[in-house]
Structures are given as structure tokens and as C-alpha cells.
Subunit: 300 residues, 2 copies
Amino acid sequence: MAFPTHVRLFEMGARDGLQNESGPIIDTAVKVELINQLSDTGLTHIEAASFVSPKWVPQMGDASEVMSNITRKAGVTYSALTPNLKGLEGAIAAGVDEVAVFGAASEAFTRKNINCSIKESLERFAPVIEMAKEHNIRVRGYVSTVMGCPYDGDIDPAQVAAVSRDLMDMGCYEISLGDTIGVGTPLKAKRMLEAVAKQVPIELLAAHFHDTYGQALANLYAVVEEGVAVIDASVAGLGGCPYAKGASGNVATEDVLYMLNGLGIETGVDLQKLAQIGHWITAQLGRTSGSKVALALGCN
Amino acid sequence: MAFPTHVRLFEMGARDGLQNESGPIIDTAVKVELINQLSDTGLTHIEAASFVSPKWVPQMGDASEVMSNITRKAGVTYSALTPNLKGLEGAIAAGVDEVAVFGAASEAFTRKNINCSIKESLERFAPVIEMAKEHNIRVRGYVSTVMGCPYDGDIDPAQVAAVSRDLMDMGCYEISLGDTIGVGTPLKAKRMLEAVAKQVPIELLAAHFHDTYGQALANLYAVVEEGVAVIDASVAGLGGCPYAKGASGNVATEDVLYMLNGLGIETGVDLQKLAQIGHWITAQLGRTSGSKVALALGCN
């Protein structure tokens, strides 16, 4: 056991969350308000936008407007997804602090999503990472489908390790390991992590586990027990699962935080504030919070 | 680490679940159908009824009718809650296989619930346990509020251990440790368990963890890691939380089973069948399944 004393929460609600909510395009003002409120909870890392073609992701079409209208808080890193050079240029122009590229450990998933092999996807990221470096912008690498793929089924932990290693070698400062369809269970999470940690120092790894099968907290506990100290989560569990209608996607930040508080792990984040933001944003979306902690605290 | 190779699931949906659902009294025929369907999933232990005054728990007023109308399946133990001698007599007349008494680790909770001290509550159970023994009926002991109390707050693990030990010494064959308000987190669960296991052999302990704060699976993983091999759960997460409106109560059996399957732990229970029953019963109640696995499997 090597519990970290501090865990950094990486808040996904405004990007990964809202992007995967069904329903109409959300007003830019609501996104800006969400990010501003999140900035006031003690969170230090907020994924704020995705600089991707609005043809593909209409919900993120106002990335530049969002970035230019938020009130930047000192000590908070506002990041954005940048799948290509055009996206990166937009992100640089908008003044994002940090960018991210989005890979996968599954060939079939990569093929379906961006119509190329994993190797080709990494080659496409290379110039993005290079240009970001030239602008002194840190790049985060996402690896999705680390515990299972909607097309390929099981994923070999060695494959997750190889892609993670490649992204690190290319210059990513942190690798976020995504259980994109939430199929993992605790021992599977541990074994996957152990395989990756042989290639990438555990200090550079983040856990991005979805709660589609209700397993996210158990899986997070299993990897935190191994020393993982960065966790991606989404306020109110924003973001559904595109692979199963009505199912959950991102794990709720409130529920992760409640667990970390109980484990005596420091985060610097205010649970009550976060739960209130979760109630507010889900009311905007016409649904109830997906955080059990928020429902139990009853602050809606 | 001492993972069990087999875990026995104790199904709570028909009693603890339905009893805590809001809404009108459920038809006896629906309860009977639920229990019959559950009997056909591989579950070996089903809590089917509560022999308690219908003045206090109207939802369980048809306990005798339920027991006399179910189709008994060989190999399945049908149990009932019997808070007093009158209840036990009813349960014996109805031919239940096993009964249970319901204690707590919190003085305030005991006082609020049954208006006596913990010591007095145990004295009241003594003749119930004695008479059950005379009829060769096994008695299970529940200890509630093992990780926190809605009135007393934190609960000393030593207090949980003492009540558990008393119930065992009085003749209970198994002690089910209930996180009644779902406030526990994994290390707290481990520490509570370790304290109890010093007084009661771990083979006699069951985990009955509620999911009010979304922590149940993580907590279950933590105690299964220590060797706990009996888990109480409720199909579709039946049963809300009387202490927080709209919040969850029992952990969903489907979600527990999915985790155990992933851990390679044998249960003998069929996940697909269970998820379908969960969809059926929650449709009867006019709501969707509270199991994330059931929603992800999409079998409604």
C-alpha cells in the first residue's frame, strides 16, 4: 500500500461532461458560469473546451468564446482538447494554459473514431505536441479504452502500456488512463495500472474511470491504493455514455471527493460548493445530479 | 490480501428493499412473483418478509400471505425479520427457513427506533433467539449504523465489535454489518471490520453496505479484500434512504455481482436474469432500475 497524501482532481465536467450530454447546444454563458463556479471550489485543473471542428462536435463549437469570457483565477489551469494543429492554433489564440491529445489503446476504437491505426494517430499527434512545446504549453495525453473497448472487447494491459509510453516519450507530461466504457473492475484496474507503471512512472499517471457499470469508485480506490495521485472526474457526473442509452459516463467529482476525504487524502476542494454547482448545472440541463453524494447532501 | 473464492449473496430486495420504497402498498402477488423470480437466478438466500406489526410497517403486513404463496425452491433459504416473539411465532407458522433480529451499534439509533438501550434491545432478542433454536431455525443478527449514525455521527468500531460479539454469543450464526446510512469509505470499512473480526470470526460476518453516498462497492471491495465472503444487496437497488429524500439505500445486487465476476469470485448467480428482474420490479414501482449495470446492459 502506498496511499498518496494528496490527490489532484482534474475536473472534466465543462468539456468531457457537457460534450456527452444529450440535448440542445448549451449557451456559452452557462458554460462560462460553470467554469467560473468550478474555479472557486479549490480545483486547480479544469478542462474547459475542445478545439475541434464544430461539424463533428457542435456542443464545443464555442470553445474560443468560452475561453475568452471566463474569469481566470490564479492557480487554476484551464485546459483544452486539441486533436490537430488547427485545434492547437485555436487553443493558443484563445490563451489556454494546457492542451491535450486523445489516443486509445484499441485499434478498432481508433479506427472507428479517427479512421486510422494507433500508430498513425500517434504520428498525427507529433506535430501538435511539438508546436505546443514551442509555445511552452504542456500537453496531456489521454489513452482511452484502457480496460475494454466497445468493438474489440478486452484490451491487453501491455498495449495500454505501449501507447502510454509512446505518448510520454513524445512529450506528454501526464498520461490519463481512460476506462471509456466503464467496464473495469478493481483487480483489472490494478493489473492494468501495474503494466503501465512499468513503462511510465506512476507519478505521471492519472485515472479517468467512467461509472457506466457503477465500478468507478471501487476501481479508483484500487489504483489510489497503488499510489495514483491524479483523478479525472466530472461534477454531477456530467456526460452520459454514448454506447448505452441512459447509462452513466464520467464518475461524479463529488463522489470521488467524498471517498478521498474519507481516506484522509488531501485535495483542497470544497465538497459542499461542488455539490451545489452540480445541482445548479444539472437543473440547467433539466435533470437531477448524477452524484449520489450530492443527492444525499440534499442541497438542491 | 485474502480474497474469498466464493461469495454468498444475500438478497434483500423483497424485504429491506420493498419496505423502504416510497409509494403505495405493493400487491402480495407482485412480492410473490419477485421472490419466485429471484429464486430462479442461483441466489441461495432471500430475505422474503418481515413479521412485524402492520401498524409500524404496513408494507410488510402480508408477510404470512407472501410466505404461503411463494413456490419454494430446493436449495434456497427464505428468511424473515422477527423483532419479537410474536413475530417469530408468525414466522414459524408461515414456515420460514431462517429468521433475523435487528440490532444497532448506536445508542441514539436504538433509542429512536425501538425506544430502549442497546443492552435492553439485546435482552429482548434473547427469548426470540432461544425459541428459534428450539425450532431448529437459524438466526441471523443485523447490526446497523456500523460506520455512522444519523443521530450519533461517528460510531466507535469497538462498539460495533461488542454488539456483534454479543449477538454471536447469544446464538446468531451470522452477523450482518450494516452501513445503514451509507456514510462509510473504504479504510473506515476496513478498520471497522478489523475491530469486529477480533471478536467474531470473519467467516461469520456479512457486509450490508448502503450506497447512499455512492461508496458501497468501494467499501465492499475493501472488506472482500480482507476475506468477507457474504454480501447483502438488493436487486435494482430497491429501497431508498429514509434519511435523505431521493438518495439511494441498498447497493444493487447486479452491481455487486458485476464486480465479483470481475474479481473472479464465484457466486453461482446469473447476472442477466437478475438485471431483467430488476427492470421488471422497478417498472411495477413506476421507476427505472437503480442498478448501473442493469442500465448499461440495457435490458429493459
